[in-house]
């Protein structure tokens, strides 16, 4: 063993606790055992069996040992390692690759980066080259990674319920189309919003060979009021682009612009709420709404106005501006008639006329720096009034951009869609292609979907969903992460979508490819796949021919960056006069009014099979796995309802049943229900919540009046992740009025010194810490999903959420202060605080959780026996216990979504936020190999990376110059439960209130 290079036993006193390993051991086990008992082993087996001599005894012993040894020696197979037969150049096993792509939903597109490992996407984040929101992705884009690995996805084409091959499916499709063409019947393509120029071009090509092609491009989640108003204002389909970063005063008319669905808006708003100095003016956010939206909860002043009255409110405000603040109406609108109603009659509890005055003053004083936004679900009158306000305040072109609809296919209204479907029901079409969306769910009980597998119906989709059930031919669609495409996320900016992996199922192809096949089969001109089609169009239309860069390089760069800047075509000047008809439409609400809005989690229901989003607590209600009817406290009292009661909601003959949840702050007389739930297909989605599309009228009116709500027997408790909503006078989430802050009054510190019996922790190299700026955080809860995706956080299901066993490593605490009619809400992300004197550490009997030299409270899952003592002793209750086995039953493709850098935790162990230690370790290793220190900002946890408000800052507290240290020294800095002396590593910056009364 002289040349044995293995480490020799150290001479320290700790040697005893080091295993036998360091001693020179015999490589061969069998001989090792025999050598333990040389003399016993020396005995020949045929020893005369006399009385039990010691030698004999030992011989027997060693023999038995040897037998056991021999058996143990035929070691269990350790599986196989399968290398690439031919390794792709860019792939190094164990090293992630990033691909720029683009996420599209509703009328929005957003550039993203997809992180892949060995060719499979494991995380979606923002594209850092995207200037408006660098590195930020919409939270549903992050969550839709799970949709890629959804086991319910269609795997091969089906004809009349039988699986068929792809060529066969293409043949059938072409046959149907030809038949339609021969019969001279029109063909209906029923799809969702067409945001992609190339897709629009493809449809144009298709129309050449299918003259009778009708395209209905309908987004069920979105209202049409805005659409209509903008059309008549600009004479064409346009998009609005709010620019909160340019606004000093923002008025949100039940608009959830801070929901995080568009991170750019949150980022822009938060940027104006994060003062470095004390004298900086902050942007002020007013909200007028009937519901209690996340944006409203963050408003500096919030007016409780019935949703039906919002139009009147805006007009009243305009009248006030014109009458008393010398604001002049836009040309053409000088003598528009509109119904007058005094503001005072519209205001509910909370902010009253004084605030209304202040609002008017602020708007008037900040002409050109004011912004009015109205919720997309609101009817035309509100949008018309909002448009008038914006025009009068000169927001257009300053705080509010306008750019034409990116494609030739303008969005259709529910009326058109309904009409088309009726024609389909009557069999007027030779072929109906349902591509994208889920009309059978968005038009429940529509005659068109009466009978299963209609011959002329063809479905192109991801799942065998409600719509697939009524189609004869079902074509599996590729997930967007497997697809090509191009979009226009911002005026003039082109974004490319490229597949991050080949389709999981060979038969799955993106819709465009199916249509291309059809196009070619019908004799049209088209490349053999959409990738080429896309490239061709770009060569012809996007690549500036005069440019010195050859196209191939241009294309490669475009794919690499994912973005190509450009200038948008101009928009014709607005004609305010055209708003007249819309203004008069303003109707006075009667009875209980019901507001139908897209679900923050499931949108229009397309994500209903996504466990992450189903279990993602609504940022305001904290409800999961359901869309309860939200009632104002007063209405609930009047109707004798409490949380979890079941009700029947009926309006004009249509009705549905739902559970009730009482929403403080919701204006009396207003009820709210979110769309997208109540799916009837797919394993996760089926039967969760109730389908509110039932109540949607032909005109797609989303604010229903005179709704009946009656109690029905039975209870259905709503699984919420927070069951207590008041701070009980505890100083947990702090907010300071701006004037105090400006006066230099900082955050009050604990008076008494905090002593500890334990010696202070020592951190030789670095000490990781986090700062969370509550003034920037809007509570959108995007961090939850990023964390869930990054850290393999399991989904537990509604029953377990009801028992309080959800597993999210980071949660957003939401507390109400003040009267329940008009409370002020505060949001505060809560995650493991990595305390220096962590109470969880000293109570773990097996040392499974303890402190790392770089200041992390580390949790060794594989050492944990599950006494749960640590969780009891955690004052923040951020530890999560695997009460049952959540993941072991998972099979491919679900398991492919796991992050290979993070252990998947078994049943019976405790887990919690690790500050994304896998990222820290990666950075440290890289720094070590390169012989340098970890740079500030090199480590970014998933939550911080995803936070659209950039409210979370992570870094080394030991380095006084790091960004996190500087923020931690801010006057607004405080620690939650500081008085316990646990010394958290997470510092919070108090929220700054900027209401009219909060600043002088």
């Amino acid at each position: 063993m002289a040349d044995d290079t293995r480490p020799q036993p150290p001479v320290s006193g700790r040697r005893f606790w080091i295993s036998r390993e360091e001693g020179p051991g015999e490589p061969d086990a069998r001989s090792a055992v025999w050598n333990e008992f040389p003399e016993g082993a020396a005995d020949p087996p045929e020893l005369p069996a006399d009385a039990l001599s010691r030698r004999r005894f030992l011989a027997l012993l060693s023999a038995s040992a040897a037998l056991a040894a021999a058996s143990a020696c035929s070691a269990p197979d350790r599986g196989t390692i399968v290398p690439y037969t031919e390794r792709p150049d860019e792939v190094v096993p164990g090293v992630p690759n990033f691909y720029a792509s683009c996420f599209a939903e509703g009328r929005r597109a957003h550039p993203v980066l997809v992180r892949t490992r060995e060719g499979r996407p494991i995380h979606v984040e923002g594209n850092d080259r995207y200037a408006t929101a660098p590195g930020k992705a919409p939270y549903r884009a992050v969550a839709d990674l799970l949709g890629l690995y959804d086991p319910d996805r269609l795997r091969e084409p089906q004809n009349a319920g039988r699986a068929v091959s792809v060529p066969e499916a293409e043949r059938l499709l072409a046959e149907k189309a030809r038949k339609a063409r021969e019969q001279g019947l029109p063909v209906l393509l029923f799809t969702d919003a067409v945001l992609s120029p190339t897709r629009a071009r493809l449809l144009a090509e298709l129309r050449k060979v299918l003259p009778g092609l009708e395209v209905v491009s309908y987004e069920p989640a979105l209202g049409e009021g805005e659409e209509r108003v903008l059309r008549s204002l600009f004479g064409e389909a346009v998009n609005l682009e709010p620019r909160p970063e340019k606004a000093k005063v923002i008025l949100a008319l039940e608009s959830d612009l801070l929901s995080g669905e568009d991170p750019a808006l949150v980022r822009a708003f938060a940027a104006g709420r994060r003062p470095e100095g004390r004298r900086e003016p902050l942007a002020r956010l007013y909200a007028a709404e009937g519901r209690f939206t996340l944006t409203g909860s963050r408003a500096d002043a919030r007016f409780g106005v019935r949703t039906g009255d919002l139009g009147a409110f805006a007009l009243g405000l305009l009248r006030l501006l014109v009458g008393e603040h010398g604001v002049s109406l836009p040309p053409g609108a000088e003598n528009l008639p509109w119904p007058e109603r005094p503001l005072s009659s519209l205001l509910g509890a909370g902010a009253g006329e004084r605030e209304a005055e202040a609002l008017a003053r602020d708007l008037a004083e900040n002409r050109g720096a004011a912004l009015v936004v109205a919720g997309s679900h609101l009817p035309a009158p509100v949008h018309a009034a909002a448009a008038l306000l914006n025009l009068a305040l000169g927001s257009l072109g300053k705080t509010l951009g306008v750019w034409p609809w990116p494609t030739a296919v303008a969005p259709s209204g529910r009326g058109e869609a309904e009409a088309a479907l009726e024609r389909a029901a009557e069999g007027r079409y030779g072929l109906v292609l349902f591509w994208g969306g889920n009309p059978a769910h968005a038009f429940p009980g529509h005659p068109a979907f009466g009978e299963p597998r209609r011959e002329v119906f063809v479905r192109i989709g991801l799942h065998e969903d409600e719509t697939a059930k009524v189609a004869a031919l079902v074509l599996p669609e590729a997930h967007w992460l497997e697809s090509w495409g191009d979009f226009v996320p911002r005026p003039g900016l082109k974004a490319l979508r490229q597949p991050a992996l080949r389709p999981l199922y060979p038969a799955a192809r993106q819709g465009e490819d199916w249509l291309l096949g059809l196009l070619r089969a019908l004799g049209g001109q088209g490349a053999e796949d959409y990738a080429r089609f896309l490239k061709e169009r770009w060569r012809r239309e996007e690549w500036p021919p005069e440019s010195p860069v050859p196209f191939e390089r241009f294309w490669a760069a475009a794919l690499h960056e994912g973005l190509v800047p450009g200038t948008p075509p101009p928009v014709s000047a607005p004609s305010a006069g055209a708003l007249g008809p819309h203004l008069c439409g303003a109707s006075t609400p009667k009875g209980l009014e019901l507001v139908l809005h897209p679900s923050p989690a499931l949108y229009d229901g397309r994500y209903a099979n996504n466990g992450w989003l189903q279990e993602w607590p609504d940022p305001v209600t904290k409800a999961t796995w359901d869309n309860p009817l939200l009632l104002a406290p007063a209405d609930a009292r009047r109707l004798g309802l409490k949380d979890g009661d079941r009700v029947r909601v009926s309006e004009g003959g249509r009705s549905l049943e739902s559970a009730v949840l009482i929403q403080p702050g919701q204006r009396e007389g207003v009820a709210a229900l979110s769309l997208g739930y109540g799916r009837q297909a797919l394993s996760v989605a089926r039967g969760v919540g109730t389908n509110a599309f039932v109540l949607l009228g032909r005109e797609g009116e989303r604010v229903l009046r005179g709704v009946e709500v009656e109690k029905i027997p039975g209870r259905k408790p709503v699984p919420t992740t927070q069951t207590h909503h008041r701070m009980e006078g505890r100083d947990l989430v702090r907010s300071i009025p701006l004037k105090e802050w400006a006066r230099g009054e900082g955050e009050k510190r604990e008076g008494h010194p905090l002593v500890s019996l334990y010696p202070d922790q020592e951190f030789p190299e670095s000490k990781w810490g986090m700062v969370i700026d509550l003034s920037a955080c809007v509570g959108c809860s995007g961090c939850l999903l990023a964390c869930q995706s990054e850290n393999n956080v399991p989904v537990v299901g509604p029953e377990q959420v009801l028992k309080g066993r959800e597993m999210h490593w980071i949660r957003v605490d939401r507390y109400y202060e003040g009267p329940e009619e008009a409370p002020r809400a505060v949001h505060s992300p809560m995650l493991c605080q990595h305390c220096d004197n962590a109470p969880c550490e000293n109570v773990c009997p097996v040392n499974a959780t303890n402190h790392s030299p770089d200041g992390l409270n580390q949790m060794a899952y594989n050492r944990c026996v599950g006494t749960r003592y640590c969780a009891n002793n955690c004052p923040y209750k951020v530890r999560r216990f695997n009460f049952l086995e959540w993941t072991a039953h998972k099979r491919e493709p679900e398991t492919l979504a796991f992050n290979p850098e993070v252990t998947v935790r078994p049943r019976g162990v405790m887990e919690k936020c690790t500050f994304c230690v896998q990222r820290i370790e990666e950075a440290k290793v890289r720094a070590r190999v390169e012989g340098r220190k970890v740079a500030d900002g090199e480590v970014i946890p998933a939550c911080a990376a995803a936070c659209p408000a950039e409210a979370i800052v992570f870094g080394d507290l030991k380095d006084p110059e790091s960004r996190v240290s500087r923020l931690a020294r801010s006057g607004r800095a405080y620690k939650v439960l500081e008085e316990l002396g646990v010394r958290p590593s997470v510092t919070y910056l108090a929220h700054l209130r900027n209401g009219p009364e909060d600043s002088e």
């Binding site: 290079t5 293995r6 480490p7 020799q8 150290p10 320290s12 700790r14 080091i18 295993s19 390993e21 360091e22 051991g25 490589p27 061969d28 055992v33 333990e36 012993l61 060693s62 038995s64 040992a65 056991a68 040894a69 143990a72 020696c73 070691a75 197979d77 350790r78 196989t80 390692i81 399968v82 290398p83 690439y84 037969t85 031919e86 390794r87 190094v92 096993p93 164990g94 090293v95 303890n850 790392s852 992390l856 580390q858 949790m859 060794a860 899952y861 594989n862 050492r863 850098e901 993070v902 252990t903 690790t914 230690v917 896998q918 820290i920 370790e921 290793v925 890289r926 070590r928 190999v929």
Partner: protein, 187 residues
Amino acid sequence: MHPYDRFARWWLPVGGGAVLATVLTVGWATQPDRFSRAFAPEQPIPYSHRLHAGSMKIPCEYCHTGVRKSRHAGIPAVQTCMNCHAVTRTDRPAIQKLAALARSGEALPWKRVHRLPDHVFFDHRPHVAAGIACQTCHGEVQEMEVVSQRMSMRMGNCLGCHRDAHAALPPGSPPRKGPENCNACHR
């Protein structure tokens, strides 16, 4: 003395002791960290490290390219073998098998020799960067006809070296310890 008494006083303890001793001995002798060593499964292709790494002196990193870039050293792609074997020793059945795989693009499932549990995140990079020779953990691979595991590669094994690394580090390197905190290997 009553026979039962004698039994109770002598045979009972002796017997108990014997049973206990047996259990302990067998348990100790068959513990995994002894028997995880010397595991040498038969491979689909009789690849000889002694030949390639030993006599031909092909550096480890020619095939195990990941070792400086990634956590995993990595197993070479079949193409890497074909770099030479497209022309050399093409008469050997094993090589022909290899070539067939390379042509068909089928996978070549090597038998795993070293396996760490899923909750262990070993990273080759810092170890190689610190100048620790592959042989320190993998044994004298260049002398192995069939690769076999030489270290138990269980926790005590890692910690033994992390707590006292001088034997493993190249001579003259500054005295240094490996991290001992959980997060260094477990996430």
